[in-house]
Every structure is written in C-alpha cells, then in structure tokens.
C-alpha cells in the first residue's frame, strides 16, 4: 500500500510503497463427530470404516495435508476395549466384539485427539455401534418312539413347549 507524508503547510510531500506480508500461523485441527458400525462376529484385525478424518484450516494454505494428522484415543469406556486406533485414523477390531444379542450396551462413545505436525491438537467424539448379524438356526437331531396303536392326529412333538427340546433354536432369538 502507498503511504504519503505531507508537511503541515502542504508544500512538501512524499510517498512510499509499503509491502505488508501476512505470515500464516498454525491453527488447531479438530475432529468432527464420527459414527462407526461394527457387525458382531467381525474378524479380529478387521479395519472399520470409515477412517477418521480430522479437519484443519491450514489445509487451505497447503501448509498441511490431511495425511499429516495423527490420532490417539483420549478416553473410551471399558466396554469398548475391543476397538483400537492407529495413528493414521484407522479403527481396528483388536479383539472379538460382543454378541449383539447378549450385549446390554450396543453403542459407545470415545474421545479421540487429532494432532497436527506442529503439535496443535483438537478433540472429537467417535461413536461405535454394534450391529446385529443374523445367524442360521441351530437344529439337533432327535428321536421319538411311540407304539403302533397310537391314534391318528396324535401330537408327537410340540416344538413350542419348553418341556421338550425344541426342534430348533436361534442365537438371534428370532422366531422359528
């Protein structure tokens, strides 16, 4: 920009160009809310989708790239010990997920920190949901014995009654 200096009488003046350089300062990254679904009986070691992606205004100036961000778990509930986090933001199934049918809790929140290369950090919430999978019914062979004189239309087995072994069971508690 141009700056002009003029003496009080206005007779003499001069101008000079002043160049102003704006220096970029690093700003904190942040992590938006993420929600990840995990199907029961997913293989241990599986990577969960989507991968966490932090945000940073410095991306716009190309000082940083998203891949430069690192992620760590700040806190997570005890019931979520089966999920771990790589520094690149990939959530991994580190142990067997609980059964959907038997697990009272089916959704957990954990706090994750995202850090840029200059050490500035931000935090966000990551939700992990346990998803139901349907499994085949379980059927066991059974044997019945009855005399030949048994009248027709006699009930030989009622699979609905708890007093007899049902003709099939289902770990999902589905109706058979």
């Amino acid at each position: 920009m141009a700056i002009r200096a003029t003496d009080p009488q206005g007779a003499i003046s001069d101008a000079v160009m002043v160049k102003v350089n704006v220096i970029d300062l690093n700003e904190n990254p942040w992590l938006t809310y993420h929600s990840v679904g995990v199907r029961e009986q997913t293989a241990v070691g599986s990577e969960l989708a989507p991968r966490l992606q932090g945000e940073d205004v410095d991306f716009r100036n190309s000082i940083l790239h998203r891949s430069n961000l690192e992620y760590t778990i700040v806190s997570k509930p005890a019931g979520l010990s089966w999920v771990s986090l790589r520094t690149d933001g990939t959530l991994v199934l580190s142990a067997e997920a609980p059964s959907f049918t038997s697990s009272v809790t089916k959704s957990w929140n954990m706090t994750v920190q995202v850090e840029d290369p200059q050490g500035l950090t931000g935090q966000g919430t990551v939700n992990v949901r346990l998803l139901d999978s349907n499994f085949n019914p379980d059927v066991t062979s059974r044997a019945l014995t009855f005399p030949e004189s048994t009248p027709t239309s006699t009930t030989l087995l009622d699979g609905r009654q708890a007093s007899v072994t049902p003709m099939g069971t289902d770990q999902d508690n589905d109706v058979l």
């Binding site: 062979s141 044997a143 019945l144 004189s149 009248p151 087995l157």
Partner: protein, 64 residues
C-alpha cells in the same frame, strides 16, 4: 414313506408341531421313519437349517 392314498404319515406345522397323519402306523410294515424338515428364522434373509427326527414305532399286541 407314504401310503398309496397319498395321505402323509406325519404332519409338521410351521410352528413346529409334529402330529401323526391320517394313517395309522403298522409296526409289522415298517418300524422306523425319518422326518426331514428345515427350521427357518424370521431374521435377515430368513436363514434355514435342515434337521431330521428319527421316529421308531414299537410293536403292540394284536388279536390273533
């Protein structure tokens, strides 16, 4: 195995009730049957598993 009339020897309802069909069983004709069935759930894909029941008919005294 079914008699010539086509009447089934055993009936199985969708809810799992097995009953003797409309024809009486004769020990002297046959004393062992297998009833094959499938159990189907009402979850995603309505998954099925096959099973079977072994049915043994015992002899009863009959008039000479």
């Amino acid at each position: 195995m079914e008699p010539a009339t086509g009447t089934p020897l055993f009936l199985l309802t969708r809810t799992g009730i097995l009953t003797l069909g409309g024809v009486g069983l004769n020990f002297e004709l046959n004393s062992f049957y297998q009833v094959f069935y499938t159990a189907q759930d009402d979850g995603d894909g309505r998954l099925e598993t096959a099973g079977h029941i072994n049915v043994t008919v015992t002899d009863s005294p009959e008039y000479p």
